[in-house]
Subunit: 357 residues, 2 copies
């Protein structure tokens, strides 16, 4: 692992192992190819346009993003096919920004109401849209039976309805993947029937997340949008959707305090993020100490408890901490230090960091 | 509240009401004055050097920060008296950075071990240090009886021991303030006796947090370091240490999806942060809808449930969302939009955002 020499940057910092990233990109591209499902990765995870271009180079048909601001950054970076998988509200300045974007890239947008369709149609007449369907995560999206009404409203507003999409977010959590993947297939199939009855012949049924990607229903799902698989994280580890060798990003941190079996490292929630699903074992995991538990997290302190019988590391030692949720960790830094086997070769600017609007 | 016109920035963004900030600054300065306790606010909350200068103008003796990087930014901004209330590990490049800082500002540092004292003494010979004591939060810091041994080791390394400090972080949570303030006083008093016995005559006993500030023990506590009071947040509201009128910062967000009593707004954890103490009612609060609950939070979606009988706001309406923990919310944005009564007059760069090292 990393030592403590004056050549190394001060901790904490996020390090990305490019060999693991390349492996993860190829594996997911292979999964999509085998399933016969188009891959449109969610690039909010990495927020780095060059990595998005690499995803496309390896076979992705385009990228998914969440905000107009992210799309502007990725368009500047040369990514030319973008789906905003979000119930877009095109009011205010955002309308003009989306209109400008639609002139530069092939842009598709999410809607889940007649009202948002009408506002979008005024801003970007003729825009291509996908109707969001709720497959069980109960966030945005309409129940599948209501997809037809939204599609009709969109069509009457002058938008072009090209498909439906859903996010099976309830697939996170140990043991939830199979059910969420089945729910996704059911919801997209039902929405498709409803749209057919309403006179629509849509080409895209978009789903998928990192946990459910390999379970995506061939035939029903035509496109999938996993994001976290690029780097993976403690959530993916603990849901069983990746192994330790697939973790490509970690925070390098220093032991700054120590008492008994407990040490404090300097990677707090200002670099790891504070995401903690109720089923997680703690606030992240230690790459080299799978038995250790992260029992508390402040802004610049992570409390790590080592199991009885395992000697905790000494003061000043560097530890590699895997965040619970990599998308929000990456969003905290201006650049990622990258290399292989712990040696830093390069820095990647997190170009779309904070592009929330 | 705010409308939706093309003159306004796209949501979500963080807005700061400067009139409320000024009120909060004056109130805390008054509390410290009445108690006869020096005020050294923790500026990690706002990360804006001009606001730190205003705190000093109103009577603060200096500022508290957590990292060398934050101290560098505030020193550049003209703040000349800084305490790093953190168990500093001065290895690697950080040693040289601290040494350079000590030449520019009056710098005091935290230690909680003989080892960290020795490393610091090599980097910054003669540096002024405070020994960190654990008063019940069980993060960093030594138990009070061990403070003498750390002080002796520091002194033998050539450091100048000027006092002790503690963070009564267990004062967060409804009903915990009184006990935490009492624990703080007990720990600082005991550490002081121990240091006296070991031959030290220290001048500083530093404690305090926003919830415990007004309860700080006159005589025992000589200096307090509240941070969040500048802006306040949903945590402070729900622990009872501020009222609704004291909330100076909120995320302006738009309703993008709506079904029954539930709406989705576009302020997710990439602008609010994901902090959620177990006792919180949810992922934040709505300034204009105290009965609403934030039941879920994704990166760009906040799920808000309105109580039966309260009509949820329409699509496209702007809502003011108070984050659970303002320090981490501020750390997500490059600038704060500031003004009074919802009208934007200025932008403050969050100069020390991401200064984690």
């Amino acid at each position: 692992v990393l030592g403590v020499t004056s050549d190394e940057p001060d901790t904490p910092y996020l390090f990305v192992d490019t060999a693991v990233v390349e492996h993860n990109l190829r594996t997911m591209a292979g999964t999509a190819r085998e399933l016969g499902i188009a891959l449109r990765p969610h690039a909010k995870t990495h927020k780095c346009p060059p990595l998005g271009l690499r995803q496309v180079e390896l076979g992705a048909i385009g990228l998914t993003l969440a905000t107009a601001g992210e799309a502007e950054v990725f368009a500047d970076g040369g990514c030319l096919d973008i789906f905003l998988a979000y119930p877009i509200w095109a009011g205010g300045r955002r309308g003009g920004r989306l209109s400008a974007l639609a002139e530069r890239v092939r842009l598709r947008l999410g809607i889940d109401s007649a009202e948002s369709a009408a506002v979008l149609a005024r801003a970007v007449p003729g825009a291509e849209v996908l109707v969001e369907v709720d497959s069980g995560h109960h966030r945005s999206g309409v129940p599948a039976p209501d997809a037809g009404a939204v599609a009709l409203a969109a069509s009457r507003s002058g938008l072009r309805v090209v498909g439906t999409f859903t996010f099976p977010g309830h697939g996170y959590g140990p043991g939830n993947r199979d059910r969420a993947a089945a729910d996704e297939a059911d919801a997209l199939a039902e929405a498709d029937r409803v749209l057919h009855t309403a006179g629509f012949d849509v080409e895209v049924r978009s789903g998928g997340s990192t946990p459910t990607a390999a379970l995506s229903a061939r035939g029903t799902v035509t496109e999938m949008r996993p994001g976290s698989y690029v780097f993976n994280d403690a959530q993916q580890l603990e849901t069983g959707s990746c192994g330790w060798a697939d973790v490509a990003l970690y925070a390098v941190s220093t032991v700054v305090s120590r008492r008994g079996q407990q040490v404090i490292v300097d990677a707090g929630n200002k670099i790891l993020g504070a995401d903690r699903p109720h089923w997680a074992t703690g606030h992240g995991r230690l790459l080299d100490h799978p038995g250790a538990r992260m029992t508390a997290l402040s802004e610049h302190h992570a409390t790590v408890l080592f199991p009885d019988g395992e000697q905790p590391p000494e003061l000043g030692r560097c530890l590699r901490v895997v965040p619970n949720h990599v998308c929000t960790a990456v969003n905290l830094v201006d650049e990622l230090l990258v290399g292989t086997s712990g040696t830093i070769h390069d820095r990647w600017p997190v170009a779309a960091r904070g592009a929330n609007t």
